[in-house]
Amino acid sequence: MVVPSLKLQDLIEEIRGAKTQAQEREVIQKECAHIRASFRDGDPLHRHRQLAKLLYVHMLGYPAHFGQMECLKLIASPRFTDKRVGYLGAMLLLDERQDAHLLITNSIKNDLSQGIQAVQGLALCTLSTMGSAEMCRDLATEVEKLLLQPSSYVRKKAVLTAVHMIRKVPELSNIFLPPCAQLLHERHHGILLGTITLITELCERSPAALKHFRKVVPQLVKILRTLVTTGYSTEHSISGVSDPFLQVRILRLLRILGRNHEESSETMNDLLAQVATNTDTSRNAGSAVLFETVLTIMDIRSAPGLRVLAVNILGRFLLNNDKNIRYVALTSLLRMVQSDHSAVQRHRPTVVECLREPDASLSRRALELSLALVNSSNVRAMTQELQSFLESCPPDLRADCASGILLAAERFAPTKRWHIDTILRVLTTAGIYVRDDAVANLTQLIGGAQELHAYSVRRLYSALAEDISQQPLVQVAAWCIGEYGDLLLEGSCEETEPLQVEEEEVLALLEKVLQSHMSQPATRGYALTALMKLSTRLRGDSNRIRQVVSIYGSCLDVELQQRAVEDNTLFQKYDHMRAAILEKMPLVERGRSQVDGEAKESKEAQLSETALVSTEPQASKLLDLLDLLDGTSGDAQPPPPLDPSPGGALVHLLNLPGAPPPPPSIPNLRVFEREGLQLHLSFVRPPGTPALLLIMVTATNTSGADVTHFICQAAVPKSFQLQLQAPSGDTLPAQGGLPVTQLLRILNPNKAPLRLKLRLTYNHFGQSVQEIFEVNNLPVETWQ
């Protein structure tokens, strides 16, 4: 045989002695070869040592899957040494995704039932670390038995294993709920800790368990009181606080039990007050307990005096020098800001202070909290603070900060001018971090504020003149200059300093944007269109502009090329129309929810308002005014199978004359009802086609069983033409689930009286049903 195998320590020394990565790899590969050989030979004496080495190598990141079966063999061995390493290997190498893991179930079962507590402990530990759902199901009864064992060591481990099992297989809660009450009477802190964890897990998972455990609130209160009032005991105390871990756990459980429950909350009030006032917070352990107490007070239905106390404690912690405490205080305040807004507002100055911390974690928390605290009365001051934070904050927070400021500005802006200023400042400071719709929002905002056009265009011009690299800013500025260029050149505006701008300067600036390599294609598009618009706004002649436009007629970028060519054509052939086309844009509505295919399925006949055509002023759509000249903006809309019902008129961008008046409405009809399945018809006569009738058939199911294989067929007299479109589905879920809709198109060129026969086939309550009936009471408007 045998080169005597290395001891673990020797291997580690060798690895550490390796001077380079390659050397280390060599050593490890050699050793792994030995280990593999030894596994193959099946040497039982050295197996545990080999596995220990393999685990070390695995920790360094090298593959170790060939050790999985060895773990099984070691676990099955009677020696404790072997089992120890084997179980460790199982925890590190095996998990639910490996097929081999189920094989240790049997070994664990044996080990759980044989009396040596160290071995039982190992088995429980492994089970709770990597036990999969199947393993948990198989071993649940074993673990339950162990809950009653005499050894407290085994019991405490069994309790925590039960928690893991419940997480994996929630049905096992039934087994583990009954022993909890008895386990609460334990004196051993480890068991108590585990039991509280178990009860917490059970309560979080099921409201029934929550109700059940409200009974133990008095007992929990007693345990906590004993902990708080007993004097200094060395056993479990950490810096003078007796077992803070257990205290924290109990407080957490009390929080869950007392939430929304008056009676339990009452029972806890005194105790919480006692803990809050008596805990010594000079060391971390006391602070931990106090924090938990504060969170519990805020979460349950506590007395108002107690709540005030809690918020004050948090305020005190915010001023503490210890960074950890401040961090936790900020986190807790964030949780409370929704429910106790005014109380948290009082601490706003301190929170804003924390923004200036160099510590990234703290400033992130402070940012979130500050954004939550902005309201209409403090918006100016807060935005000021947040803007200065934006200038100096670390890059990963910039995006959040920028969008937060923009959102706050939108909600609480006191004046439009302030709003524009704020957005402008954000764009200049952190332009690349803002979201895409910031440009759209700003253009829409400026467009809507007529009195501020002059002001905006001047400010944007100055900003652009300074810096053409921030794309969102450049886009907005280009658009603005294009639209309001005349106001720019025209003399003074009271709100800004007098700015004398020459036409040539403006054109030069836009050309610079066009040519700069920093400009993205979209930005170039904006700039080109702005130049075009200026050709009508400026008083001088437009030769320079024509030149630029014709150059871009052969640009490589297709979008730009297309625009340039169209603009060129505008100069040459349609010069008489140029002024009209390039007029100032009317105010665009904000894009509300767009109606697309999926939205229609869920709303079908109940659509009360068709949404506006996509009105986001994206450069490519809106500014292509030439497209609209071709007439129908209908290509921008998806063809609706359902025309708008009364009230929703389509708003076209330029309010083209001749928009059809909304059609008169025809009442809906309920035509069929059986055991909860109902059929409704709704009718529309589109105004453009007098012979056409659109019927939307809607089937709804309010019964307790699903309707499946639902098919609806229709028949009409010979003079009519019927077209059935595909239904939205063939299954109607029970209890008012998603209805099935189907569109019928009926052409009635002779205006003959409408008759309609419907045939339904479906399965309901386990039976197949067929119904044929004629629709009576069809309103006259459907065919006249």
């Binding site: 673990l8 670390t129 479990h236 803070p244 871990f245 957490r252 703290l362």
Partner: protein, 189 residues
């Protein structure tokens, strides 16, 4: 899910959520870089990187000389409490190893695992009383020693042979016609 490691790229990583191997190593590296960057006078809490579970998870760490102990926890644990837990763990290590230092942790990484198994199990806090933990570890070590352990066996065998007091063996045993030559065993003693 928790892990603890030292200032060199060596790390003990114990996980309670199954992750594929490569991801594990990536998490360790990312955590390592995140924590190393931290100054000493800022708070001990880090929001986790993108790989670690998302925004619900935090990294809580403590720095002892050249070692960082990092625990990754979700929102069901009290942050300040975990700081104390790390302290308990380190003090337990100290008791078990007698003035523990970084080399102890490296060379006896299996023992560190065993100790950690007594403190935290299945991702939940099991026991925080140092005396209990140490007592349990010592009991287990005694169990292991009584079985001999592999390294002990040959040494004991050799010493057992050395202690055999072989009496003076006659060199030639004459039993009638049988002549047994007794080999000289003295070199093995």
């Amino acid at each position: 899910m928790e892990c603890s490691f030292s200032a060199s790229p060596l790390s003990h990583f114990i996980h309670f959520i199954p992750q594929p191997e490569e991801i594990q190593q990536q998490i360790v590296r990312e955590t390592f870089h995140l924590v190393l960057k931290r100054d000493d006078n800022i708070c001990n809490f880090l929001e986790g990187g993108s790989l670690i579970g998302g925004s619900d998870y935090k990294l809580i760490y403590r720095h002892y000389a050249t070692l960082y102990f990092v625990f990754c926890v979700d929102s069901s644990e009290s942050e300040l409490g975990i700081l104390d837990l790390i302290q308990v763990f380190v003090e337990t290590l100290d008791k078990c190893f007698e003035n523990v230092c970084e080399l102890d942790l490296i060379f006896h990484m299996d023992k560190v695992h065993y100790i950690l198994q007594e403190v935290v199990m299945g991702g939940m806090v099991l026991e925080t009383n140092m005396n209990e933990i140490v007592a349990q570890i010592e009991a287990q070590n005694r169990l292991e020693k009584s079985e001999g352990g592999l390294s002990a066996a040959p040494a004991r065998a050799v010493s057992a042979v050395k202690n055999i007091n072989l009496p003076e063996i006659p060199r030639n045993i004459n039993i009638g016609d049988l002549n047994i030559k007794v080999p000289n065993l003295s070199q093995f003693v």
